[in-house]
Amino acid sequence: MKVVLENLTKKFPNRNKKIKDYVIAVNDFTFEIPDGKLIGLLGPSGCGKSTTLNLISGLEKPTSGKIYFGDVDVTELPPENRGVGLVFQSYALYPHLTVEQNIMFPLGNLKGSEKLTKQEMKEKALEAAKLVQIDGLMERKPSELSGGQQQRVAIARALVKMPKVLLLDEPLSNLDARLRLQTREEISRIQRETGITTIFVTHDQEEAMSISDMIVVMKDGVVHQIGKPQSVYDDPVNMFVAKFLGTPPINIFRGEVKNGRIYIGDEDVLNIAEPKKVKEGEVYVGVRPEGFILNDKGRFTCNLERVEVMGRDTSVVSKHDACENVTIRSIVSAENNIDTDAKTVKFDLKPNKVYLFNKETQDRIMF
């Protein structure tokens, strides 16, 4: 089932009642989610991603705009008529019911011709439980399960009624690091096996990048960029997106475009292939950590702080006056030999890992 969001906007009255202005949680969101894909809604907390999820589920009504499931306008439909499965951040498992009863709960709501017998319900519940691999825990109470198991029960409960759309709110945030890795693969596997259009919300860019078919980067209720994880990473539309994606984060420098070259400080660190296309003046220069090449005769000199060995790679931590970050982090191959006692380190930059941003708007300047 494809999901279409059309100029979706949600305003809340300000919490402080004296302020008449509205808080805009989601602003003019338009996006077509293709059928059967896994979509990650990504952004810092308070960016409106959870509100978007609530709008799609029907728990909240948009101020304006429309939502379509397939060709059907569901904007005014209550959640129960939309056929969505929703997994809550806190899982919302009913504490007084067993795992099986929890999974069967949505089936008990079916009425009329859809009504199932107890036996059919049990079979469906078992099927869903097998899918998430908790079929051995059916008689337990949620309090007797680990966080990861609770998460699986919550997913099974959302899947049991075969929703058209599966929504996951911060599905991994309550799990420890090891489980997080395992569960995100699990979610990806379940999604591929069921083929249900799945939308999940997260503030963790690594999580979103690793399993999503497409990611939506949001901030302050505004969608900044939509695309495949790799293309968003490679081609950020503005400085926010560039900074938000990638660990370690991108290094931002105050720079200048002059004489067809990019300057950081006094050094011209990179030539611009087609100088005529770029206006001269002050800019921000973003360099991905993997965009640095160690070179003794390199054009970019930084003050070496320390070298962190990470096995496969080596992280070179250095400083530069024009850098906006506290330190510059660059990732180079471990095969490089670095003189750790040296005061400075010299780099060349990979042109495709360097981005220019407008000093005022912070929008990307192509070069």
């Binding site: 499965g85 806190s90 504490p95």
Partner: protein, 309 residues
Amino acid sequence: MENDKTPKKSGKAFLSQFKGYIYLIPALAFLGVFMIYPLVDVLIYSFEEGYNFTSQTRLGVGLYNYSYVLHDTYFTQALKNTFIIVIITVPLSTGIALLISLGLNSIKPLKNAFQTIYFLPYVTNTLAVGLVFMILFKKTAYTDGMINLLINAFGGESVDFIDGPYWAKMMVMCIYTIWVVMPFKILILTSALASVNPVYYKAARVDGTSPFRIFYKITLPMISPMIFYLVITGFIGAFKAYSDEVALFGTDLNAAGMNTLVGYVYDMLYGNSGGYPSYASAAALILFAIVFTITIINLMLSEKTSITQ
């Protein structure tokens, strides 16, 4: 028990072991005189036959007091009245309170105002407001009273609720009891309902759960500990009914046929028929036994149906 190796300190250390008791002296003194001693004493009283309060003499020891009380028609009347009050008011007040709390929890405007109003009976003197109830229900030579006017408006006959037939008196009794116990129950249930995490309701809504099923399958199990708490305290409270009765029917409850167990105890002790602490003690112990048994049964039931979080 002085294992201390430095004898100089040991005296002080020994004393400090008991320093806590200095702080407890007032509490222990009051409790000893007015609770522990009476507890023993009431048992003794209840077995002392023919104890005379003025001459402080007794005839013997035995179960006669219990037998007397159990054969006393005033006692059986009081027992019957108390049981009727308990059986009618506890379920009814808990049920209505649950409905009101559910209503309160699903509105926003005026919620605070309603809560404040509903709580008022808790802070009023039951004797004083009972007088008002009496006047509202009473039929006199001058007027049939407010309630009878209301009954007449719906085509019913006037009834004297205060000096009239037994069922009428019992009805006023139960209505007033419910009116008095309601604030506590509403308060407890509203906060119990409010403490249910709204995420469960959201989850149920997404699954298309009907409101009735949400109530029956989610809300009720989650607040069931509080409901049991209310039922238990409600039983205990209703078994001790007394001052509400006095408020409506006056101090001579036996004459009105509206006495309760507690009322019987006090009347035996002091009142028109008073001066028999032995009978009073026996009656009080019987009351205690009943309340204790019912509380235990309640607790066992709540254990069985309670949820494991």
